[in-house]
């Protein structure tokens, strides 16, 4: 485990009551790495994300983000894109308000012109410039995802943590999201940790895959970490996504 690692997780155990939600997870990720976290429902993927963000505490083992335990990590180093299904749609807000929380670390009471411009620029970078003054409650899943992405990127984080960013987004939209992530990563040498259900995307976009089902099944370059034996162990069966792995041409 190198000291320069953006993320270093060692033998992490998180319990809920007697149940081990995460049981012995070990991996690390450095600048330029793109780690796809994959596993069946209830595998602890979101809990792992929460451990990286300092939202749950570890019962054993350790989590270090840029060398510090997550609750003490400078929030400016980390951009977080939550699952959009957790959004409270009744909350009165414009898209730009949410984007600006990425700069302010507070909900904005007033917005200066400079801030409004920065929010609009951040939205434009993710192809959502027109959304700045739209009410959050009127946005589609794909649009919201872009607003959250703009919010996380406005602070130019060195680590991006995403929880199922492509869920509820159509295939073309998902491709765009991966394109945006790769562009950002290329420009800033950032680290990406992303929970996804999409094995195919993991296979083609990630540098590493972390396959978990409470316990760690594999970690490594996707062709090895997502081989048939590992996937069968995690999911019990493979279904047709496995067939797709072989039919889609390798990413160039």
């Amino acid at each position: 485990m190198s000291s320069s690692a953006a993320v270093a997780v060692n033998e992490l155990v998180v319990r809920r009551g007697e149940h081990r939600v995460l049981d012995g997870i070990t991996f690390d990720a450095s600048a330029g790495d793109f780690v796809a976290v994959i596993g069946p429902n209830g595998a602890g993927k979101t809990t792992l994300i929460k451990a990286l963000l300092g939202l749950v505490s570890c019962d054993r083992g350790s989590v270090r983000v840029f060398g510090t335990p997550p609750p003490e990590t400078d929030p400016d180093l980390v951009g977080y894109v939550p699952q959009i299904k957790t959004l409270d749609r009744s909350f009165p807000a414009r898209a730009a308000d949410l984007v600006l929380t990425g700069l302010r670390h507070r909900w904005p009471f007033y917005t200066t012109t400079t801030e409004q411009v920065r929010a609009e620029e951040a939205l434009e970078r993710v192809g959502a410039g027109a959304l700045a003054d739209r009410a959050l409650s009127t946005l589609s899943g794909g649009e919201l995802q872009r607003v959250y992405l703009a919010r996380s990127l406005i602070r130019t984080p060195r680590l991006l943590v995403l929880d199922e960013p492509a869920t509820g987004v159509d295939a073309a939209g998902a491709t765009d999201v991966y394109g945006l992530l790769e562009d950002y990563q290329a420009a800033h040498q950032a680290t990406i940790v992303m929970v996804t259900h999409d094995w195919n995307a993991a296979y083609h976009h990630a540098t590493h895959a972390l396959l978990i089902d409470a316990q760690q099944i594999s970690f490594g370059p996707p062709p090895e970490a997502l081989d048939e034996r590992c996937l069968r162990k995690a999911f019990g069966h493979i279904g047709h996504a496995h067939a797709m792995l072989h039919t889609v041409p390798p990413h160039d």
Partner: protein
Amino acid sequence: MIEVLQLPFMQRALLAGVLVGGLASYYGVFVVQRRLSFLGIGLSHAAFGGVALGLLLGTNPMWTALPFTVVVALGIDAVTQRGAVSGDTAIGVFFSVAIALGVVFLALKDTYTADAFAYLFGSILGVRPVDLWIIGGITVGTLAVVPLWGRWAYATFDRDLAQADGVPVRRDDALFSVFLAVTIVAAVKIVGIVLVAAFLVIPAAAARLTTSTFHTMTMVAVILGIATAVGGLAGSYALDIPSGATIVLTQAVVFFGAFLLRGGERG
């Protein structure tokens, strides 16, 4: 109408109504957006236990209701944070215990206490100078925590997002509970236990219907809370009907007005 304002009890009523109307509406926007109406109802009923304790001890019931309700609020907060039971269950347990204690306190007092009923339905015209000092203190305290609006709003929108961004959400929640509890006790004096929830919920809900950002919702709610207190008090004087209830009915008129207004533009 103007000369009635020369009367000291009317001046105190107006000042108390304006301050409590504004305070309750300010905390009400968080109560409404966090879906904590039941906490408002629970804490106002819990205040009954504190009021009864004051009557038993023969002191101003405000002095006992304030710490009593704060303790109940922190108890609900602590039990909920542990995650063992859900928030509404914790509220249900604490508020029935507080009421049961209140009933016991009243029974222990050997003389009949009509005073307890004043707290069930409020007595804005019976606000004493000491009550005003208490309400003034709560107002000053609230002004001191107004800078936390951005953190509270952030955690109201998404607790995890705020916490991941370094907001101390647990400490903020506890502080919010304390301020909510003391505001509710002040409102109990004015509108009474059974109608306090209206002060918290109705102006904020009306504001929610007419605004599209959280900061305008906050400002509109506070303005409505103050305006309906003044309007309700004037109406109750003009029509010679109970003040607390008239303020609540005034709030309700504003709410349904906002609802109808909004219904026209919304599909």
